[in-house]
């Protein structure tokens, strides 16, 4: 039996649940998933959520048809659009933004992200687009990492280039901002969080129809494994209804 929702829907709902009322969320390029998640959260449990969409700087845009690009004018009208140069200041001061939604070509066990290159930087086997705002990850209260590709190529032991800093590997290492760092990782197969002691990624839940063994097979490092791994609660009717309203143009509806 088909579940009545797809990976996008499940991931959007899982991310939405992670946003708390009153928080300020920032997202970057290709914002479809975090944008949908913020709008769902706002419609349900977090009516006072704030969200800033990438280079457009639009605050709480609620377009009838969501565009795929973070700089698309269809994100307007919004009551406020922050110039990008202002967003950079707010990121740097480190006490204003709560959640940074990030991703990477590579993501490692400590939540380091890499959007720059696979292989040696000087002669990469895969050149990524570049890091944009990810160096500010440690400046935001916590980060939520998401990727549509749960593979051993994405989840690697150690990223080839740190372009978005995760947790420090060395215990007791001082960080310039005293933030939580990466807190949640969402993929089409599972959700993961970080062991507070080792600061390494561990399995938090598997999506319906997926086993812990399936996840281990496609993760390129020793993923922490709790004694019992719960199933990710599937989207509720209310969540699916909220999502249906905000689904980006072109994506198959839930």
């Amino acid at each position: 039996m088909t579940p009545g929702y797809d990976s996008f829907a499940l991931m959007a709902v899982v991310m939405a649940r992670a946003f708390r009322d009153g928080e300020v969320v920032v997202m970057g390029a290709q914002p479809a998933l975090p944008l949908a998640a913020c709008r769902v959260a706002r419609a349900l449990h977090a009516p006072n959520l704030w969200y800033i969409v990438g280079g457009s700087g639009t605050v709480n845009p609620d377009p009838a048809v969501a565009p795929d690009s973070s700089c698309d004018a269809r994100l307007a009208p919004a009551a406020c659009a922050l110039p990008l140069t202002d967003i950079v200041l707010l990121e740097g001061r480190g006490d204003t933004l709560d959640v940074f939604c990030a991703g990477g070509l590579q993501i490692d066990a400590y939540g380091n992200c890499n959007l720059i290159c696979v292989g040696e930087w000087s002669r990469p086997t895969l050149r990524g687009p570049g890091t944009v705002g990810l160096p500010f990850l440690p400046a935001v209260r916590r980060s939520v990492i998401y990727t549509m590709a749960h593979t051993r190529r994405t989840f690697v032991k150690r990223v080839d280039f740190i372009s978005g800093p995760g947790h420090p590997a060395a215990h007791g290492e001082e960080r310039p901002y005293r933030q939580q760092g990466p807190s949640l990782v969402v993929t089409p197969m599972a959700t993961m969080d970080f062991d507070p002691e080792t600061r390494r990624m561990r399995l938090a839940s598997v999506h319906p129809g997926v086993t812990a063994t399936d996840v281990l097979k496609v993760t390129g490092f020793a993923l922490g494994m709790p004694a019992a791994v719960p199933e990710t609660p599937p989207p509720t009717d209310a969540e699916l209804a909220a999502l249906r309203r905000v689904r980006p143009r072109g994506a198959a509806g839930p």
């Binding site: 290709q30 698309d72 004018a73 110039p83 001061r93 895969l126 890091t131 160096p135 960080r175």
Partner: protein, 290 residues
């Protein structure tokens, strides 16, 4: 002095000599000054260094594919949901031009602010020190002491383009220009540049522009030349006037997968920008801008 109104070809011929540091605006697939960029391609005008917004797309990839960029400062060259940048990728993976000066959005924004304000360099907020970026770009990032606390910090150099090429929505007869919906970092890029060429969709009266003020604008006294090119951001978007033509961008991405395909695409850009814009005038949204 009143602003000078030039054709794309005249503006490039007068303001862009080979080897200069060019700043080119537009972010992701929005507000790229494509008429000016295509003219660089037609003229084979080489940029010694290209500085982009925090996220460039076709304005950078087209110049890279044409072999016209020696060095690039850009925190992102790509096409979001449409894919990676084929020429940028190929260059990096084969060791070709351009040389990449790796940086991030924050450092670029601060470097342009410094360049605009006569500030010699800018100390960086923490964060960059936890990445590998400064390690691979000693040309832009250096260590310096904080004279107030004695702490060691990374600093980024000031950036000043010789010429900035940006796209705005409209101009008045004095060359005061108004942005479309979002200024991105294009205002800083313009303020930091030694000369500034602005591509616009249309001319309006000073009274019309005043009636909409205060929008995001730049005064005519900062503008070296204005190029009125309706539809000139195509195939990227001109905010509020037309959307990015994703079909055309996809066609570019497909063609540019290999150098031969890219050459074919570049050869199809028409001999003049007028001819190109005439041809795309029927595409969705572009007609409304004319």
């Amino acid at each position: 002095m009143p602003a000078r109104f030039l054709s794309p070809r005249e503006a490039i011929a007068e303001f862009v000599s080979p080897g200069l540091t060019l700043g080119i605006g537009g972010m992701h697939m929005t507000a790229a000054p494509m008429s000016l960029v295509r003219e660089l391609v037609r003229g084979g005008v080489r940029a010694g260094r290209l500085i982009t917004s925090p996220s460039a797309s076709m304005q950078a990839d087209l110049l890279i594919g044409a072999g016209l960029v020696d060095e690039i400062i850009s925190p992102y060259v790509g096409f979001e949901h449409l894919g990676l940048a084929p020429c940028f990728r190929r260059a990096a993976e084969t060791g070709g031009r351009p040389r990449i000066l790796e940086c991030d959005e924050g450092s670029l924004s601060h470097a342009l602010y410094a360049g605009a304000g006569g500030i010699p360099f800018m100390p960086c907020p923490p964060g960059i020190d936890l990445t590998d970026i400064p390690r691979v770009n000693p040309e832009m990032f250096r260590r310096t002491g904080d004279p107030f606390t004695g702490e060691e910090r990374w600093a980024v150099c000031a950036l000043r383009p010789d010429v900035a090429l940006i796209a705005c929505r409209e101009t008045d007869p004095l060359g005061t220009v108004a942005f479309g919906r979002f200024p991105f970092t294009d205002r800083h890029l313009a303020l930091a540049a030694k000369s500034l060429v602005v591509q616009v969709e249309r001319m309006v009266t000073t009274a019309e522009m005043s009636a909409r003020s205060p929008g995001e604008t730049l005064p005519g006294f900062l503008v070296s030349a204005v190029v009125v090119a309706p539809g000139g951001c195509y195939p990227t978007a001109s905010p509020g006037l037309y959307h990015a033509d994703e079909d055309e961008i996809r066609a570019y991405l497909k063609a540019a997968k290999d150098p031969e395909g890219f050459a074919g695409y570049a050869a199809g850009l028409d001999a003049t920008e007028d001819a190109y814009l005439e041809r795309v005038a029927e595409r969705p949204g572009v007609k409304d801008a004319r």
